[in-house]
């Protein structure tokens, strides 16, 4: 390698030397180009060595609670349901982006498990909800990866891909949403919402 070679784009991205639009373009390329992603990571990992031996500093008290509140809402709404309560999902309204996309059907209700199917307009997604543990399993037949989000007071927080088991204890008032946009999207377009309400 000689100094006449152009500086690799990966190094410029890792160093933060790209203009905003160039940086966004390069970030998008990372998502689809594993070799480029690995090259950026090579730089990121080594440059992170700049901070390797900093003396640790205690973070202010209460910071973690603020993180939880921003991600999951108020702490009391995130607690697991008490044993003995029944939990019933109710399909909520469709967000206005693509009003024809959602139709959800409760297809089975077995002991501790309810199964719902969503027609997202780009393929069906099946969601199996364990009403005892609160966990959900999802399976997507959509043409693209579907992503599951939880609605927060300030927007949406990413939970995972359709296909993953999500072990969150969903509480009354929890709203899940589906999108084709992935975790790095700042303003995901939601295809569907799913509301959880406590059965009286």
């Amino acid at each position: 390698m000689t100094s006449d070679q152009p500086l690799p784009l990966a190094a410029e991205l890792a160093m933060g030397l790209l203009q905003e639009d160039e940086a966004h373009k390069a970030e998008r390329r990372r998502a689809t180009d594993p070799a480029f992603d690995a090259e950026v990571w090579w730089w990121e990992e080594r440059l992170a060595g700049c901070f390797a031996n900093l003396p640790p500093q205690k973070a202010p008290k209460g910071t973690y609670d603020k993180i939880e509140a921003r991600l999951f809402g108020a702490p009391d709404t995130a607690k697991a349901p008490d044993k003995g309560f029944g939990w019933k999902p109710v399909v909520g309204g469709i967000i206005g982006v693509k009003a024809t996309l959602l139709a959800a059907f409760l297809i089975t209700r077995a002991l501790n498990t309810e199964t719902h199917v969503y027609d997202t307009g780009i393929g069906q997604m099946t969601l199996r909800w364990n009403t005892q543990s609160g966990s959900i399993r999802s399976q997507s037949a959509a043409q693209t990866t579907l992503h599951i989000w939880i609605k927060t007071p300030t927007g949406y927080s990413y939970l995972g891909n359709a296909g993953q088991k999500l072990s969150l204890p969903f509480a009354s008032g929890t709203v899940l949403a589906l999108s084709a946009d992935g975790p790095l999207s700042k303003a995901p377009k939601m295809l569907a919402e799913h509301h959880f309400t406590r059965e009286d």
Partner: protein, 178 residues
């Protein structure tokens, strides 16, 4: 430690909130130190610390568990801090920190905070060039910022950085092969 960090991140990807809490306990003091190093303001660093773990939670599903989890988190922390600096338009020279920023390699405390392999490769560069690399990475300075700080023409700074990074890569790749 690194293995445990990767493990917690992989659990976060499944929606495990306890894993997020464990990751925070394991790493928050080191991430806060990075944020304080860059931002030099406790309130700004606390806000940034929240953003680091929110980004980590959201980014966990795309984390490659074969990678170094602490470096991944440190990169998030660095990027969050640089975004915060740029958004607030705070410049370190406004706080009288210009001398230290102009040449962080002269600061004994700073140079010892850098991992040994990176430190030895930076030492192979001209000191001013090493300074330019550190200024850009650690303080989010642009080519123009470096040119202004050092009183050097912009194109000269571009050339320094380009050559320095290529040389740095050669050196670090050699270190990888050892």
């Amino acid at each position: 430690m690194t293995g445990q960090i990767c493990h917690e991140i992989s659990l976060m990807a499944t929606g495990d909130r306890q894993a997020l809490q464990r990751l925070y306990k394991l790493t928050s003091e080191r991430m806060f130190a990075i944020l304080m190093r860059i931002l030099r303001d406790r309130a700004d660093a606390e806000d940034a610390l929240q953003n680091v773990y929110i980004k980590a939670w959201r980014g966990a599903p795309s984390f490659d568990v074969t990678r170094n989890g602490e470096a991944w988190l440190a990169t998030i922390a660095r990027n969050v801090a640089i975004d915060s600096l740029r958004q607030s338009r705070k410049r370190l020279d406004e706080d009288g920190e210009l001398d230290m920023v102009a040449d962080p390699t002269r600061s004994t405390s700073t140079i010892h905070q850098i991992r040994a392999d990176l430190r030895s490769c930076l030492a192979t560069l001209d000191q001013t060039h090493a300074t330019a690399v550190l200024q850009v990475y650690m303080y989010g300075l642009s080519y123009q910022d470096v040119a202004d700080t050092l009183g050097t023409p912009l194109n000269t700074v571009r050339t320094w950085l380009r050559r320095s990074l290529l040389k740095l890569r050669e050196c670090l790749e050699s270190a990888d092969d050892l």
